[in-house]
């Protein structure tokens, strides 16, 4: 774990740059992380990000399928918003932990 300044705010991040504390997140931070991975955020992106944050706050697991059934976007659209690894990039930009397995 290390401290990184993103959009003028010092936040705790993992080695891979995921926020360790989701309460440190704000929209400027999201915009800056998005730029790093080459994504320009639109209101639709933020709808998805807020959905992911709500699910995480409720301690529910995140799946691509779940996002597809959220009523916000279907899975193809999710890929359109976050190309080459939608959960990986959307969770990073949403300031929530990276989805993991047992090992």
């Amino acid at each position: 774990m290390s401290v990184k300044t993103i959009a003028g705010v010092a936040v705790n991040v993992s080695e891979e740059g995921y926020l360790e504390d989701m309460s440190q997140w704000n929209e400027e931070i999201a915009n800056e992380i998005a730029k790093e991975v080459g994504i320009e955020l639109t209101p639709k992106h933020f709808e998805v990000l807020n959905y992911l944050r709500d699910k995480t706050a409720a301690k529910e697991s995140l799946t691509i399928r779940g996002v597809g059934k959220s009523g916000i976007v279907n899975i193809k659209e999710l890929y359109g918003l976050f190309p080459k690894g939608p959960l990986k990039f959307s969770s990073k930009i949403a300031g929530i932990p990276k989805p993991t397995s047992c090992i």
């Binding site: 891979e16 301690k59 529910e60 691509i64 899975i75 397995s101």
Partner: protein
């Protein structure tokens, strides 16, 4: 008389029947367990069956043998749970309950992916999370002449998240022993960011894929199977060709959960992570892979859950507050091929670490390192499962909560995987 009803006589349900019968007064509590199937499978064995390591008879027994005296065993299909009326409807009768334990498990749902159950299903596309699938795959492998083997995970969560990786490792050993490894190209395809997603594991174990010449394809979320071209295709039209596809289809809870309106969109039941009480109904408890708790859905986890749940059922019956005790503890052997295995021990918040298990500094089992001892441990576990675990006999020196004795926190994570 009051009624405690258990739905499902798999690993979790059978353990709960055994734990509770010896703790609830026979003249106060009836215990009934319902399951539509006669056979109890040792599901970890489905990993070994395809490679002819285990025979059919080593992984299945008659389920009733493991249900204790004094428990009413009903072999019937469960139609619906009526939580507002405290009733469960079976195919030809209705049961009342005061306390309900749902242990209906999870199963594969290959029909959720377009083209999976098509012309190639059980010909060139197999699962090994069912007895039938594992057996069909064994028969295929016995005569397969080689080509592109693709081991693939559709989406998380799945019953045992590590089994697909173990399958790839064991396949490497299997084809080497058969003298045909040069004819087989093995790929491992995952919707996650890598084969190892936890920093300690990717640091300690990344060498395994290289050593075994297994090609990793990450961030692949399958959209459909192209049966004509023999390719799996993701949402960005990335295509991976296969000659033999071993896939882990979507895992879902039982349809009875959906019919009863008790589950999430994968039919898993919202459950308190620490007490195992269902979130919607205070007299319904949930265990094993039927829950939505963010732990592995493996029997190892169910085993630790069963100990906490037994205490909580007794507390609930007597009107006491429940223990917020379950910590997501899992303790799993991971086969790495060549008669070696790893052992991992972790919980909701602590990643797998190095160390010795179960005795600090002594072991004899090594955490997060390959060893022959660990492999023997995995093979010995089949005996432990049938003779101790199902019967609710505590496994000596292995506690329900994760212990930090003997653990060495020496792995500095890096993300170079």
């Amino acid at each position: 008389m009051k009624n405690l009803l258990i739905l499902g006589a798999g690993t979790s349900g059978t353990m709960m029947a055994n734990h509770l019968r010896s703790k609830l007064y026979l003249n106060k509590w009836n215990i009934t367990i319902v399951d539509q199937y006669k056979t109890h499978y040792y599901q970890p064995g489905f990993l070994f069956l395809p490679f002819d390591t285990y025979t059919e008879n080593q992984v299945k027994k008659v389920g009733k043998k493991f249900i204790p005296m004094g428990v009413n065993y009903i072999q019937k299909k469960i139609e619906k749970i009526l939580p507002e009326e405290n009733k469960v409807v079976l195919e030809d009768e209705t049961l009342n309950y005061d306390v309900l334990i749902v242990a209906t498990g999870s199963k594969i749902a290959p029909e959720e992916t377009e083209g999976l159950v098509g012309p190639l299903w059980k010909k060139d596309i197999f699962d090994f999370y069912t007895y039938e699938g594992s057996l069909a795959l064994r028969n295929k492998l016995r005569t397969w002449e080689g080509g592109k083997l693709v081991v693939h995970i559709t989406e998380m969560p799945i019953k045992c998240p590590v089994a697909p990786l173990e399958f790839a490792f064991l396949a490497d050993s299997y084809f080497r022993k058969k003298g045909m490894r040069d004819k087989v190209d093995i790929s491992y395809v995952t919707p996650l960011t890598g084969a190892f997603t936890k920093p300690t594991c990717s640091t300690a174990l990344a060498y395994l894929l290289k050593e075994k010449d297994i090609h990793l394809q990450s961030d692949f979320a399958i959209e459909h199977v192209d049966n004509d071209k023999k390719e799996i295709v993701d949402y960005e039209d990335r295509r991976i060709p296969f000659d033999l596809l071993v896939t882990i289809p979507t895992n879902m809870g039982d349809e009875v959960i959906e019919k009863s309106g008790l589950g999430d969109d994968l039919n898993f039941i919202p459950t308190d992570h620490n007490t195992l009480q269902s979130k919607a109904h205070e007299n319904i408890f949930v265990i094993g892979d039927a829950t939505n708790v963010p732990a592995s859905k493996a029997g190892s986890v169910a085993h630790f859950q069963a100990e906490t749940l037994t205490d909580n059922i007794l507390l609930y019956i007597d009107g006491y507050p429940l223990k917020k005790e379950f910590d997501g503890h899992a303790n799993c052997f991971i086969e790495t091929g060549n008669n070696k295995a790893l052992l991992i021990d972790f919980n909701y918040v602590t990643e797998p670490v190095h160390g010795k298990f179960p005795f600090a500094k002594i072991g004899p089992l090594q955490l997060l390192k390959e060893s022959v001892f660990n492999h023997w441990g995995k093979l010995a576990f089949r005996w432990i499962y049938w003779n101790m675990l199902l019967k609710g006999i505590a496994i000596p020196f292995v506690s329900r909560n994760m212990s930090f004795k003997g653990k060495v926190f020496d792995i500095k994570p890096d993300n170079k995987q």
